[in-house]
């Protein structure tokens, strides 16, 4: 069995370029409700860019630099807009019953990505290096310990929180979003009710 040939066949059957980068769309795709997912994706790009800038200069940069504070504020507001658009995406797709016609996989992957994105948000708030971060860490530890996950994740361990927030969790979110988009492009936009 040739693995490369199998991968080629799988991509050709499930995700050809015409689906990955479409130049035509069904005429029923003409509502604002189709824009929230793409908006969340655009904001995710902005979050990655501002996040890279913040990680280049370190988590304490923004406390003493005006430019750093502005970049941190962009990252902060990006998170608010990201979850706002994500919530609208979730509500509109729920009302459109978009899991029809075998699209449950798209929903499952999207829900998992949403969960990991929320955990990424929590680790981001823990990384602020200010009173808010101290308060959130001390409150969150009780919930984490009550769920039995304290031995794996300690909200007061800044080193663990930093590596999770800048490497592990973003990779998880980006990978799952990629899989979510592949499912969407493979199946095409769901027909209206």
């Amino acid at each position: 069995m040739n693995l490369t040939e199998s991968a080629q066949r799988c991509l050709r059957d499930n995700l050809p370029l015409e689906d990955l980068l479409p130049t035509r769309m069904p005429t029923y795709v003409n509502s604002l409700s189709y824009l929230f997912g793409a908006s969340a994706l655009s904001v995710l790009v902005a979050l990655v860019v501002t996040g890279i800038l913040l990680s280049l200069f370190g988590p304490d940069w923004y406390h003493g630099s005006r430019l750093g504070h502005f970049v941190n504020s962009c990252h902060f507001w990006g998170v608010q807009v990201f979850f706002g658009t994500l919530l609208m995406h979730l509500i509109t797709k729920f009302l459109m019953a978009a899991s029809r016609d075998g699209r449950w996989k798209t929903w499952a992957v999207g829900a998992l990505a949403f969960g990991i994105a929320m955990f990424t948000g929590l680790t981001g708030f823990l990384l602020q290096g200010n009173w808010d971060a101290q308060w959130i860490a001390l409150q969150a530890k009780d919930a984490v310990n009550a769920l039995g996950a304290g031995a794996l994740f300690n909200p007061m361990n800044i080193g663990q929180v930093l590596t999770l927030h800048v490497v592990v969790l973003p990779l998880g979110v980006v990978a799952l979003v990629g899989l979510h988009l592949s499912c969407i492009r493979r199946d095409g936009p769901v027909k209206p009710l």
């Binding site: 069904p26 904001v43 504070h69 507001w77 009550a146 769920l147 039995g148 492009r185 493979r186 027909k191």
Partner: protein
Amino acid sequence: MSRHSETYLQGIPTKPYDLLREGLILLLFWAVVIGGLAALFGSPDYPAVRGEDVAQRQPLAFLKTSANLLAGTNSLQGYGPLYSPDTGNAQRFLGVAPADWAGVTHPIDSPATSSSNPWRGWPS
């Protein structure tokens, strides 16, 4: 098109579409919105509180807490796993305390962390 979408969208009228152009327009739009919100409202940054700050601003409260910590009577010292061995006080969820199963994985020396260490560096 993929076999799946070709079957699903058979007979459905389509219109011209530019995915990358729409994506770039959205990215630019949200970048302006986010930049505007950041410039207008900034982000919260109330400074972190250190043991040293408490010792300097509220010395009596700090001394009282330190005395409790050194005597081993502060409530924080009996938190339970993962920080201290008092399993009876472990955090519970639906009556179960899973933190007990892992035991003390992050031991905290409360008298040193919260009382004696903040005094270091002070002029004698």
